[in-house]
């Protein structure tokens, strides 16, 4: 077995939130040891990473990568199935194209895993999945085949419903559709332990999502949560987490008018666990790092941000036993950066997925 040693890099420490010099050993697909820089190590292949920063691969906690391809329109768009009734029986892994050029961008930007969520147009979404951003078939990319169920609220499903059926759908109607779907899942005994993700922007939609969660006694994750800073009621008996943003995107809908990176600092100040997302191609997968930089600009501590991009994202997506940390036994999903990764001008120079180098800067 080939042993690769990455030496002399500034390695991210999840607990301290800073970087220190360590040596990371990779054998085959896994990290086999994290050692002090002075230890002698057997290696077949040495990467001297002096001056570089090493983090786990970043994890995009809401993305449509591969499901909605770039550089093409309807032909490559498999994110939205209007037939609501059956949607929770659909699965995103049946729509992912591994040769979407966006996967190359992901590797080149230090994003090694993504939570694939179907498009916001339908109220009831498909079964979500977590995948690596490298592979030739979706099956070999899978980290979590059926993670959860996603729902979508607000003006996008309203508008899409009108376009398809020429009959109106109200916010009340959306709430009922979500309740009906949840009841059916409950009935079929398919709801237990399944995470629920709800796309919502406006404060009233967030409140409705929380209300439904309490009715069904379900822990939920809000996706986007644009107006969370103006939600004043302290919710929840049920655990709440937020897949926030993306903040870097065109502001063309009323629901987005108050989108601002202060979202991140408010979530932090209120102690709400949150992670980052591009919802690619809403923002590009290349800008996951930028979302972290915007959070830093808004005043969130570096430790919270870098963990939100890695370990905490893996926990939320239930893949923390496989990836998300620089830790013995986990997949060697690693990124070397030329500067501190929250610098606006920092770039990934080498990216590894399951120990394989999938990107190297020319």
């Amino acid at each position: 077995m080939v042993i690769t040693a990455i030496k002399n890099a500034h390695v991210f420490n999840h607990d301290i939130g800073g970087f220190s010099k360590q040596t990371v050993l990779i054998e085959d697909e896994k990290i086999t040891a994290v050692l002090s820089p002075f230890e002698n190590i057997p290696e077949d292949h040495l990467i001297d990473a002096a001056g570089f920063y090493l983090t786990p691969g970043f994890i995009d906690t809401c993305s449509q990568i591969g499901l909605k391809e770039i550089g093409i329109r309807w032909e490559g768009n498999d994110g939205y199935e209007p037939n609501e009734e059956q949607n929770s029986e659909l699965q995103v892994i049946d729509g992912i194209y591994p040769f979407d050029n966006a996967f190359k961008d992901a590797a080149a930007s230090g994003v090694t895993a993504a939570h694939i969520v179907s498009a916001p147009e339908s109220v009831v979404g498909a079964k979500t999945a977590v995948i690596h951003t490298y592979g030739k078939t979706v099956d070999e990319m899978i980290l979590h085949k059926h993670l959860g169920i996603s729902f979508s609220m607000g003006d996008i499903p309203k508008h899409a419903y009108w376009e398809k059926t020429k009959s109106p759908l109200t916010r009340m109607g959306i709430a009922q559709k979500i309740r009906t779907a949840l009841k059916q899942l409950q009935h079929a005994n398919k709801l237990k332990g399944i995470p629920i993700f709800i796309r919502s922007h406006r404060a009233d939609d967030i409140a409705t999502a929380v209300r439904i969660a309490e009715e069904f006694k379900l822990p939920i994750s809000l996706i986007h949560a644009t107006e969370y800073p103006v939600v004043t009621r302290s919710p929840v008996d049920q655990p709440l987490s937020v897949i926030a943003g993306p903040c870097f995107q065109p502001i063309e809908r009323g629901e987005l008018q108050h989108l601002d990176p202060t979202l991140y600092s408010v979530l932090f100040e209120q102690g709400v666990p949150f992670t980052f997302a591009t919802d690619h191609p809403v923002s590009s997968v290349t800008h996951l790092q930028l979302e972290g930089a915007l959070a830093l600009k808004a005043g969130v501590p570096e430790k919270i941000i870098l963990n939100g991009l890695t370990r905490d994202a893996a926990k939320l997506l239930r893949i923390d036993q496989q990836t998300g940390s620089i830790q013995q036994g986990l997949f060697a999903d690693l990124v070397l950066w030329n500067k501190h990764p929250l610098e606006l001008t920092a770039r990934a120079v080498r990216t590894f997925i399951k120990g394989k180098e999938v990107y190297r800067e020319e």
Binding site: R73, F248, I251, Q257, H258, S284, V285, R347
Partner: protein, 389 residues
């Protein structure tokens, strides 16, 4: 009344990119009076402390739809006159809403001047305007009322018209529509030409372009569309501005040779259509290496105007020199737009349009502390927007 901003690192963006550390910026009557180190400040001057901060010229974006797209406030945008593909009579000033929130967004991002106008649905769209992002009236904000005739090549006209079963269906017909106005204008007699300008007929914008009074802005992404834009400009010997120029990095020699102005972007969006599939954030570096000057755009609302500075930082991330990136959103943008006599750098006699930052604007922790237009501080912080809800 003289005000002195004291102690900042001042990026003047003059012709030699002078950076003055710990320097003073003198502002009086809306103009820059002096920029220097250890200046002799008169006792009656008002002093504003800016120690430890960074001052740059106000940022300039010369390709936007600020104030005219009407995103959020209008159900149908005011930037694309979809009724017909040939609309030379459309003037940006008739569609700009100076109260639109995008102007406030611009100021929050340190953008003090924008070029704005029609979108890219029409082969001939209308006449653009350059204006400042703050002021008490549209008239006061305007720098150049007629800053160029805007047209578009490629997918957008085909998509808006061809796909609705209206001409133009092909790239050939799009090019023909753009040529048509110039051909008709050239066939006029001297007196007809005079009359046309006098009455501001449909041909007047073409005559003004032919006479060199304003340039022709052509939206082009694909290499063939860029080549067509260059071909048309050569045929009529008019000043050309290549807008977007997405595949320009595949044909740098031809662009350099034609001498057209280039505005690059928005390269931070994912490629949402076929003609932008070769989009790369390395484009600014490649243009610079080829010796072609350029400005960087947001194309607001496609990238929010307040993120112009992030677009320049992205170019640095992909290999562009920092100072060139900063020039592309200040002095170089002003030069390409022909407004460098007034704005784009901090030199005596120029308008006092500048921004105070907590750190260098490409630094992650940098925050905009104040944007000034004609020496006047603009408000509109995010906190106040939230409180007003």
């Amino acid at each position: 009344m003289l005000t002195v901003f004291r102690g900042a690192d001042i990026y003047t963006m003059d012709d030699v990119n002078t950076i003055l550390r710990n320097a003073d910026l003198w502002v009086s009557n809306g103009k820059v009076v002096k920029v220097g180190i250890d200046t002799d400040i008169p006792s009656d001057a008002k002093i504003e402390h800016a120690e430890g901060c960074v001052i740059t010229p106000g940022l300039i974006d010369i390709h936007t739809h600020v104030g005219i797209w009407g995103e959020i406030t209008e159900k149908i945008n005011d930037a694309c006159e979809y009724s017909t593909p040939y609309t030379p009579m459309m003037r940006a000033i008739d569609g700009i809403n100076p109260r639109h929130f995008s102007f406030e967004l611009a100021r929050r991002g340190g953008v003090t001047t924008v070029q704005t106008g029609t979108g890219s649905a029409n082969p001939i769209g209308g006449v653009w305007t350059i204006l400042k992002t703050g002021g008490s009236s549209l008239q006061e904000m305007i720098i150049v009322e007629k800053s160029g005739l805007k047209g578009a090549l490629g997918e957008n006209p085909k998509n808006v018209f061809g796909q609705s079963n209206k001409a133009p269906f092909t790239r050939m017909a799009v090019a023909h529509l753009i040529r048509q106005g110039f051909q008709q204008a050239l066939s006029l007699s001297a007196s007809e030409r005079h009359e046309s300008l006098e009455n501001q007929t449909e041909l007047a914008p073409f005559i003004e372009v032919l006479e060199g009074k304003m340039p022709l802005h052509l939206h082009c992404h694909r290499a063939d569309d860029i080549a067509t834009a260059i071909r048309i400009a050569k045929e009529f010997n008019v000043k050309l501005c290549l807008e977007h120029c997405t595949e320009g990095h595949l044909m740098l020699e031809a662009i350099k040779e034609c001498g057209a102005n280039v505005t690059l972007g928005p390269f931070m969006l994912p490629a949402t259509k076929y003609e932008t599939r070769h989009l790369t954030p390395e484009a600014p570096k490649l243009f610079h290496e080829a010796g072609i000057p350029f400005a960087i755009m947001t194309d607001h609302p496609f990238i929010p105007i307040n993120y112009l500075v992030l677009c320049a930082a992205e170019a640095v991330k992909y290999g562009l020199e920092e100072v060139v990136a900063l020039r592309s959103i200040t002095s170089q943008a002003a030069k390409l737009a022909g407004i460098h006599d007034r704005i784009g750098s901090l030199e005596p006699g120029k308008d006092a349009d500048f921004v105070i930052w907590s750190h260098h604007p490409f630094h992650t922790r940098s925050n905009m502390l104040g944007a000034f237009i004609n020496g006047k501080r603009m408000d509109g912080s995010f906190a106040s927007r939230y409180e007003s809800r």
